[in-house]
């Protein structure tokens, strides 16, 4: 059942771009990129239970790494390696406050970090070109396959998403995934069972941030022009929303949440000026009625259906 569902989703995302206009394909690519960043945040927040309002900053660090390297003629592969490493290390360091504070206090620490990154991107013109941004970011060529066209670049994003999902899947099925869950649910008990909560907390931050960086490396050649305001708190909140709307701590959550966040506003465009309001009401209703997100809602329906059928017959 789960396998069939996964195959259906795979078939859908492969078939979806055919027949779409470039803007539609751009949105699908954006979905793939945002899903990667949300998978990272889901690790940190959904599984390990550490709130972060700085995921957009890691997307920004990744995007600027890619933009600066590839406009100098470096291959995108180098940007992936450097951004992942850089975000892993910075994420690890950002994890230290999480060892002392939790919940909204931790949210404020990450908020301060996000502001810091934004100020660097905006003010350090020698490095980032400040408010002028960086344009002309090239799309990569892989073993002779140019990803310049929207459709090709979409499949490139999809490939990276597949790799990132496989890595996250492996991680969450390993003893680490179990340790993350224990860390989120009951850190005192976890630590009494020999789980080094300190090290796992830092790891959760580092790996989640590295995935944010990888998403950023894809984001730069997708939009081909980046500037600091793309990576402010708005994006962080959006990523947070994706994780929560999809279903935090559930593997499929980020995929679904990113789809809702990227595609739903577009589908609501027929309502013109009202679309953001409809979207906001939808999110409020969903979270009030089902805090475990869309996947939590699906689970609830699945569990109550057999009962419904039994009482009907």
């Amino acid at each position: 059942m789960k396998k069939a569902l996964a195959l259906a989703v795979l078939a859908l995302v492969v078939a979806a771009p055919f027949g779409l206009k470039p803007y539609g394909i751009y949105l699908l690519s954006l979905w793939a990129v945002m899903t990667i960043a949300a998978i990272g945040l889901n690790l940190t927040l959904g599984y390990a239970g550490q709130i972060s309002l700085a995921q957009a900053s890691f997307v920004g660090i990744g995007a600027y790494t890619a933009a600066l390297l590839t406009t100098q003629g470096w291959p995108l592969g180098a940007a992936f390696a450097l951004a992942a490493l850089l975000c892993f290390v910075i994420g690890w360091l950002l994890g230290y406050p999480a060892l002392r504070v939790a919940h909204h206090y931790l949210a404020f620490v990450t908020l301060a970090f996000a502001t810091l990154v934004y100020l660097i991107l905006r003010n350090e013109e020698w490095l980032t070109r400040g408010v002028y941004g960086i344009s002309g970011i090239p799309r990569p060529t892989l073993l002779g396959w140019s990803t310049k066209a929207p459709l090709d670049f979409y499949f490139f994003c999809l490939g990276v998403l597949a790799l990132a999902s496989a890595a996250a899947w492996w991680l969450l099925r390993s003893p680490w995934g179990r340790a993350f869950t224990a860390l989120r649910e009951n850190p005192v008990r976890a630590s009494s069972l020999g789980i080094d909560t300190r090290r796992y907390t830092l790891m959760a931050f580092a790996i989640g941030s590295a995935l944010g960086g990888i998403a950023g490396v894809l984001y730069a050649p997708l939009v081909q022009f980046i500037e600091p305001t793309a990576f402010t708190l708005g994006l962080s909140f959006n990523l947070l929303l994706m994780v929560i709307v999809g279903g935090a701590g559930r593997f499929g959550g980020p995929f679904l949440g990113a789809a809702v966040s990227v595609l739903l506003p577009e589908w609501l465009r027929f309502s013109e000026g009202l679309y953001l309001m409809i979207y906001a009401v939808f999110v409020m209703l969903l979270l009030a009625l089902c805090p475990s997100g869309l996947l939590g809602l699906a689970e609830r329906l699945r569990d109550s259906w057999p009962r419904f059928f039994k009482s009907a017959t």
């Binding site: 390993s174 003893p175 680490w176 649910e185 009951n186 005192v188 976890a190 069972l193 020999g194 789980i195």
Partner: protein
């Protein structure tokens, strides 16, 4: 007999109020030591100070002669010291088997082998034995939260034994467990104690359970040890009766 655990002059006060006031005792290899006393006498605080959940105000704790005061709970656990808490603490959404795997996984290999290696961390045999021993095999794949309270309590205790510890501190293992299951729990604890020479310290209010399980008993009142002896001696000690019945 060698002392597995040695507590010397342990004191813990909260804002000037002493919860534990200069407690000293030793636990010998293979012993089952009972720790009893009225509510608020400092038993759980003592456990928390020994196991690093709380930092003692003063005093020293040694395991096998090695000072462990101030060490982190996870490091102590990996030295072979394990515990249960007064309130049941299993992970309700993990399956029974996963709870056991979790309790054993950090005791072998490195961080990296746990990431790249097998999902069961090579513990399938060990977890199977524990499931058999605590009669939980039929429930292995159920989420722990779906078990009855008594069964969860058994799982909670089983988790403490998963990594083959040499010293186990049990905080009210019998609380809320029905009589049949209680007899089973006592048998399991005895079996493990005799087979593995594991040493236990047990906090318990159920006198029948303590008296029939423990080889020696310490009585704590107002953060001090007021009596020590075999179950028979404790039963007839006037100071103990006084502490329990009030002044």
């Amino acid at each position: 007999m060698a002392a597995v655990l040695q507590v010397r002059d342990l004191t813990k006060s909260f804002g000037g109020i002493g919860a534990v006031n200069g407690v000293s005792f030793a636990v010998h290899e293979g012993e089952i030591l009972g720790l009893i006393g009225p509510n608020g006498s400092g038993k759980s605080t003592l456990f928390n100070c020994i196991l690093g959940q709380l930092r003692p105000s003063s005093g020293e704790v040694r395991v096998d002669g090695r000072p462990i005061t101030g060490m982190r709970p996870c490091d102590l656990n990996r030295l072979g010291i394990s515990r249960t808490f007064q309130l049941l603490q299993v992970f309700p959404q993990l399956s029974v088997r996963e709870n056991l795997l979790l309790a054993g996984q950090e005791h072998q290999g490195s961080m990296w082998s746990r990431l790249l290696g097998a999902r069961d961390a090579g513990l399938s045999a060990a977890s199977g034995r524990m499931l058999e021993l605590f009669r939980l095999a039929a429930l292995a794949e159920e989420p722990a939260g779906a078990l009855s309270y008594g069964q969860q309590k058994l799982l909670d205790v089983a988790m403490a034994f998963m990594a083959g510890p040499r010293l186990v501190l049990l905080d009210e293992p019998a609380g809320g467990v029905n009589l049949t299951m209680l007899a089973g729990l006592r048998e399991r604890l005895r079996e493990i104690n005799q087979a593995g020479k594991a040493t236990f310290v047990v906090i318990e209010h159920n006198m029948e359970f303590v008296m029939s399980l423990c080889t020696r008993i310490l009585v704590l009142a107002e953060g001090r040890i007021i009596a020590e002896g075999t179950p028979e001696e404790i039963r007839s000690n006037p100071t103990v009766i006084d502490a329990y019945l009030g002044h």
